[in-house]
């Protein structure tokens, strides 16, 4: 029987939430296609991650432990996992569409001489063929494809499957990959954590974005204040391409087609007209609030709620009201 392999990911020893989602996605495919769900994790200090994976719903957990692989290395992790996959008869290999997934999964796919559908939002198994649906053109369209080669591979967009943390206890085995430090060509030397009060844009429940309508970079304080009003760890600050290109905000905050695609529960577009590139990056948010003084701005076409007004008046009042509510 062929198996469904999930490549899990640990950061500073703890398992990433998106890896639990990948196990759930793997179980969904196993229910249709058969086979066991086997989770593979690579690194050095893996005890906490192994424990979390054992309770994720996977049938088996394999830990590839090595001091040489304590820090991520695309070529090193690829070599270690490829060596392990050879004996596991994979029908399917899944991974989160994370920074590591984007770096590692294509390498594995090339090594396995197979395809990969990346950033998928749905998996399919029809007439004995694996397939997936993914957003293309930054979400302006969706593409469904089926596989002509084996194994099937996909990276999964975060927040599309529900990860489990108390779904049984899988058998855990340890293996020592035959990769030595001297073999590694690209290796992470240092991980510099972002300021702890910052919520990652793509993981935030609320995103407050500002655009040209704020007139000056200093006025982004109004955006930061509204984000902070939701309390710690809830809201992230986003920006339109125009203000990133103008140098007001760092590119990592850009929401849109050449920035990040976000889908929070609540999205505030403040002083953003809603260029098509921006809409592509946020229009799958659950609820969208637009604040703009131009009643004809395209942003109002996608917004659930709109206020036609001056951001300099609306934002302070909204910040006070949110503070009073949450």
């Amino acid at each position: 029987m062929s198996n469904i392999i999930v490549i899990a990911e640990a950061r500073s020893g703890s398992l990433k939430k998106t890896s639990l989602e990948a196990v759930t996605a793997g179980k969904e495919l196993a229910a249709k296609a058969g086979g066991q769900v086997i989770a593979i994790i690579v690194g050095n200090d893996l005890s906490a991650a192994k424990e979390a994976l054992a309770a994720s719903g996977a049938d088996k957990v394999i830990a590839l432990q090595s001091e040489a692989l304590a820090q991520y290395s695309g070529d090193g992790y690829s070599a270690a996992i490829s060596g392990e996959l050879a004996s596991l008869d994979p029908a399917c290999v899944l991974m989160a569409h994370s920074a590591m997934g984007r770096d590692l999964a294509p390498r594995l796919a090339a090594n396995l001489k197979t395809g990969l559908i990346s950033d998928v939002t749905a998996l399919h198994y029809d007439d004995s063929k694996f397939g997936a649906t993914k957003p293309v053109f930054a979400g302006k369209a969706y593409r469904k494809s089926y596989f002509e080669k084996s194994p099937f591979m996909a990276t999964l967009r975060p927040n599309n499957w529900a990860g489990q943390s108390d779904a049984g206890s899988a058998e855990v085995s340890d293996a020592s990959p035959s990769v030595s430090a001297a073999d590694l060509k690209a290796i992470v030397q240092e991980v510099v954590a972002a300021a702890s009060d910052r919520t990652p844009l793509q993981e935030a429940r609320v995103v407050v974005s500002g655009g040209r309508g704020l007139k000056e970079s200093e006025h982004f304080k109004l955006i930061e204040d509204l984000a902070a009003a939701f309390g710690p760890g809830v809201a992230a600050v986003g920006a339109s391409r125009a203000v990133v290109d103008a140098g007001w905000r760092p590119h990592r905050e850009q929401v849109g087609q050449t920035g990040k695609v976000v889908a929070p529960t609540l999205y505030f577009a403040c002083g953003i007209s809603g260029a098509i590139q921006h809409l592509a990056g946020m229009s799958t948010s659950q609820f969208i609030v637009a604040i703009n003084k131009d009643a004809n701005a395209p942003i109002f076409k996608v917004a659930n709620y709109g206020i036609v007004g001056d951001v300099f008046e609306v934002l302070p009042a909204l910040t006070a009201a949110v503070k009073a509510t949450v």
């Binding site: 984007r102 796919a109 593409r143 494809s145 992470v188 609820f287």
Partner: protein, 278 residues
């Protein structure tokens, strides 16, 4: 890299087999760094996407095609590397139809030295067949530093750079926002979820570029004129079948139009009691 004697490159050329080594020019022999940029022609980001009659592809009517925005950053990084290392060539490579000559000329106008179109007649490719085809071509060259945009803004796959690296036996650093090139190695930074990685990497290597790395230069009139005379080689793509077949391309469901509220109090009330998100 800069200390590598010229004769080593002569040997490298000889080792590439009779096809390439038959007529190496003196110019090629003295180059010490062969920098390659892999680029793609894509629909501009302000395009309104319409689905073609086959239900599987983009309707190109009314679409403006441009150089992929992340590839502009890759070209700029390659030109900066050439400026740093001096005696090097920057070659831009694309896989696509003859239409992509326009985007290759854009790269030449920015300052790339030569361009290669691997012409597939516009047939459907996926990341698998694209990487295999381009890797087959690059295996016959002395490419030692390969830049790519982090993803093409059409398929948004972000697969090509690591695939290419694996096929060429090279390391890869993806989505970089800063780069320091040294002799035989590099240090790059990349944003990951909630943090930043500093990556050490030996050369040769494949690098994929993210926004924030640099400000791509504009092609000036002199560059545009010069680009017309620069070499643009065209070769036929090998017939490699994609690993995936497209079933359908569809538009997402349209969002229903919302409502305009007059006051902040009404907005907060709606978010709390209708949307139930506060």
């Amino acid at each position: 890299m800069i200390e590598i004697p010229a004769f080593l490159h002569w040997f490298a050329l000889l080792a590439q087999g009779p096809g390439r080594a038959a007529a190496p020019t003196l110019q090629l022999v003295i180059k010490v760094m062969d920098i390659v940029v892999c680029v793609k022609r894509v629909a501009a980001t302000d395009s309104q996407i319409k689905i073609a009659a086959d239900g599987k592809s983009l309707d190109p009517a009314g679409i403006e095609f441009v150089l992929n925005p992340y590839d502009e950053i890759a070209v700029e990084a390659a030109l900066a590397a050439k400026e740093q290392f001096g005696d090097s060539t920057v070659t831009v490579v694309t896989l696509g139809s003859a239409d992509a000559q326009k985007e290759l000329r854009t790269c030449l106008a920015m300052g790339a030295d030569k361009a290669v179109l691997i012409n597939d007649g516009g047939r459907s490719q996926d990341a698998f067949s694209t990487a295999e085809t381009v890797a087959d071509y690059l295996k016959g060259t002395a490419a030692s530093l390969i830049f790519c945009g982090k993803q093409a803004v059409d398929g948004d796959e972000s697969q090509f750079p690591p695939r290419l690296a694996e096929l060429l036996g090279m390391p890869c650093v993806t989505e970089i926002t800063s780069l320091t090139l040294e002799d035989g190695s590099l240090v790059a930074e990349r944003d990951i979820e909630g943090a930043r990685e500093v990556v050490n990497c030996s050369l040769p290597a494949v690098i994929s570029t993210n926004k924030g790395l640099n400000e791509p230069r504009y092609a000036n009139l002199k560059g545009i004129m010069a680009a017309k005379k620069k070499p643009l080689e065209e070769i036929e793509a090998a017939a490699i079948d994609p690993a995936t077949s497209i079933e359908s391309l569809s538009l997402p469901p349209a969002r229903s139009e919302g409502k305009i509220v007059e006051t902040v109090d009404q907005l907060v009330d709606a978010l709390k009691n209708e949307a139930k998100v506060l």
